[in-house]
Point group: C2
Amino acid sequence: MADAEPERNDAPKIDMSYLEGTIGYAIRRAQLAVFADIYRSFGKDGLTVVKFSVLAVIADNPGINQAMLAEALDVERPRMVPLLNDLEKSGFVSREANLHDRRNKSLKLTDAGRLMLDEHKRRFSDHEARLSAWLAESRPEDVLSLLWKVARLRA
Amino acid sequence: MADAEPERNDAPKIDMSYLEGTIGYAIRRAQLAVFADIYRSFGKDGLTVVKFSVLAVIADNPGINQAMLAEALDVERPRMVPLLNDLEKSGFVSREANLHDRRNKSLKLTDAGRLMLDEHKRRFSDHEARLSAWLAESRPEDVLSLLWKVARLRA
DNA sequence: TATTGTTATACTCTATAACTATA
DNA sequence: TATAGTTATAGAGTATAACAATA
């Protein structure tokens, strides 16, 4: 009943008390629960979280180049290449040559990309509403209990 | 200055306001910051976080089998095999045949495994002390700000 | 039939190094 | 020389399917 006890009643009796008392383990489980819930909202036909993030940043920063985008999202530059290849192939992002500095490519959303992003923002807000409601129910004060509360979102 | 603004002053001016307003993005960044800090404490010669978790669970549940361990840590059963192979090769874990049910293997820490675990628990507590001190400095009340505060741990 | 440990496969992610074309 | 995009590579992590031994 206490928020600090993240037990599942169907699980066998394994002593996890040490790990469950650490913020590191709690935040990892909480993050996985949140992402699982996001994917629940995105659905089978949905974008990955990373691609959604890429579209969201390009939308608010039209003309941004790949290096800046990678830095903003804290992923390595080489990671952006297959990601943007896919998004370009899907018709959501355009890569235009930058005339002022031909090393750069200027990233923009296509109309289809804008529609896809908006649709996923709607789906994302379903997730956020679910999470907010879950936390509003009874929000633990200490950090560890709060993270375990998040981790139990639709556990 | 406000806790809700996770800006880095060295970064270029990119509008990240949408993602930074979501718990999903904040908890991901917070989790990465926490793990980075754990690895800072574990050091170059240290275990991975997963291997540390495996040792910690076996220590408190001697004789546990691989399937139960996998379920407890929420990793797939096949993942445990190379993990335990490594830990066995390193001399930290023993896999004994279970006489009552010969499908099972009974996992135990070796003396070296116990020493390795204890050493890493000490290093882990350094991390936790650093994190606690960081949060005690000024702990934001709302979840989003709290996560961004965590995410800025040694950012 | 069901379960444990295992193998195999495939895809994603992370982290580097190095190449090319530009500047 | 430095930077942007790219290629290549290697190591983790994730997710499934399937197999042998055992129950």
